[in-house]
Amino acid sequence: MIGRTAAEAISEGSRLAEFSRLFLANRSAMLGATIVLIAVVVALLSSWLAPTDYARTNMLFVWEPPGDDFVLGTDALGRDVFSRLIVGARVSLTIALSVLAIALTVGTAAGMAAAWNGGWIDSLVMRTADITFAFPELIIAILVAAILGPGILTVIISLSLVSWPGIARIVRALVLTLRGELYIDAAIVCGTPPTQILLRHCLPNIVPALIVRASVGVGFIVMAEATLSFLGLGVQEPLPSWGGMIRDGLTALRTDPHLSLAAGAALGTTIIGFNLLGDGLRDLLDPRIRER
């Protein structure tokens, strides 16, 4: 058997090329992608990029203003704010991506199980989702975090708990639509087990929608993590997080506003970056919107 024919390679290649062309032409999506890329690179290289140890205190240099020695000055314990900001990117993104991975896995599995089986499984999953939706997400996260006690793991668990229902709902709706497809009937007739049908036939068809949902969702997760850390329920000292840095800077907001503002700017820019990327991807991957 020969490999792919030239015509097919061209047609598949041109689909990718078409996608790249549209993506490059979408300025807000490109801006979002650039911001996200910078944040990810900074997070990955934080150990090398940070000029000093983020946890090293120096009582001789507390409340230093931004200057030559310290790009963004120092905090109440004499720690380098710029280094803490960079390491904070790693902490925030690690938490956000962990939550996203858990929420996507659990949400997809629950949504698929609900759509395929119907009956009490469907009721259980969807009523649980409804209950979660009935409260503001952040309130539930704060409640769970307060029960579990502060820490990174707490942040991941509580934010995963409020993030999966949205994904489960989308997946359920998409799988219900796909169930009507004739090729799903064909798979049932030739004996494909349900899990295989869901993974091989359904999953590839819902991935574009999940990518869009995920890139928009990251923004919320980053902000929620900052909120929990701001309230002292999240990342604990000496590990920096943007939310915690905003809180630490509040006491000196009048005299040294840069402490809170630097972390706030990093947080805001990252969230905007993810949202722009998500909106851009939705425009490109959802054909109904693209045709408008």
Binding site: E8, S11, L182, Y183, A186, A187, V189, G191, R200, N205
Partner: protein, 329 residues
């Protein structure tokens, strides 16, 4: 001889929510007490107009729909409510070819994965699957080099060949063809029908061939069942059914087939009225509302499916009272 597939009093009823405020739910009798048998290597054609339940019958036999009554036996085993391992013999030996060759192939899969799917489900090792895929592609007239392509690279007729290759791959004993050629051009239809015939000759597979097209069914079938409102109204071998139909509905259907001989202009019997609702079937004989020879008896009592001659079943109080001769003379 034991039939390969046997359906007894098979029914598929769907609950329909009442339109009235009382919210009472009624039943849509899509398939209502159907008895069929298919022998090994035989083709049973099912004909009828849209909404007569022929597709539902096929889907029930494939266990894509749960039968609400009656039984299905495959090779002597009751598979009416079988699940899991008990359903495995049916899933191996009964395959399907669907109407829409565009919808029945997953656009994201390669042809080799589509045709190999039933074999993977049987736990075949990869090299054996590739060999069998190439073999069945050859049988259905597709160059095996095309195995790595996606369905969008093929025409409608070629896609239907892919669907047939998938059905044929696990060497089934029965293939349910649901309007398998209706979506194709007439010239392609003939090719596909001949392919199905060759496959039957070479491999002895049986077909349940569902179609609204009488000519297509005749070309392929040994026996033909005519369905009306979820029930079989006439069932016999292809020769007698097409030359001397006994049920007035069959007569009317046949008269509507265009006559290729210009010297003999065909005069179709135009049935009055629409197909009655399967939610509210008429009392007595369900066909009496449109029957050209209905008598008062037909409104009162429902006729049973009777064996009038050996192997010839008709559901009519007055079989043969409405003959083709009266129409075409």
């Amino acid at each position: 001889m034991k039939p390969l597939l046997e359906a007894r009093a098979l029914s598929v009823h769907f609950p329909v929510r009442g339109t009235s405020m009382s919210g009472d739910s009624r039943l849509l009798r899509a398939v209502d007490g159907v008895d069929i048998e298919i022998g090994a290597g035989e083709t049973l054609g099912i004909v009828g107009e849209s909404g007569c339940g022929k597709t539902t019958l096929g889907r029930a036999i494939l266990r894509l729909l749960e039968p609400t009554g009656g039984s299905i036996r495959f090779d002597g085993m009751d598979v009416t409510r079988a699940t899991g391992a008990a359903l495995a013999p049916l899933r191996k030996s009964v395959q399907a070819v669907f109407q829409d060759p565009f919808g029945s192939l997953n656009p994201r899969m390669r042809v080799s994965d589509i045709i190999g799917e039933p074999l993977r489900n049987l736990g075949w090792p990869r090299p054996r699957i590739s060999a069998r895929v190439a073999e069945v592609m050859e049988i259905v007239g597709l160059p095996p080099e095309y195995a790595s392509r996606h369905p969008h690279a093929f025409s409608g007729g070629q896609r239907q060949r892919i669907g047939i290759a998938r059905a044929l791959a696990p060497s089934p004993r029965l293939i349910v063809c649901d309007e398998a050629v209706s979506a194709l051009d007439v010239s392609i239809q003939a090719q596909i029908l001949n392919l199905l015939k060759d496959i039957q000759r070479d491999f002895g597979v049986a077909y349940l061939f569902v179609s609204h097209n009488l000519a297509v069914v005749r070309h392929l079938s040994h026996r033909v069942a005519v369905m009306y409102l979820g029930r079989i109204v006439e069932l016999c071998d292809e020769g007698r059914l097409y030359t001397a139909p006994l049920h007035p509905y069959t007569t009317a259907l046949l008269s509507a087939v265009p006559e290729p001989d210009p010297e003999r202009p065909n005069r179709p019997v135009v049935l009055e009225g629409d197909l009655p609702s399967p939610i509210d079937p008429p009392p007595g004989c369900t066909f009496h509302t449109r029957c050209p020879v209905a008598k008062p008896d037909c409104r009162a009592t429902a006729p049973a499916l009777r064996e009038i001659e050996p192997g010839r079943f008709v559901r009519c109080h007055f079989p043969g009272s409405f003959r083709q001769a009266e129409v075409t003379s």
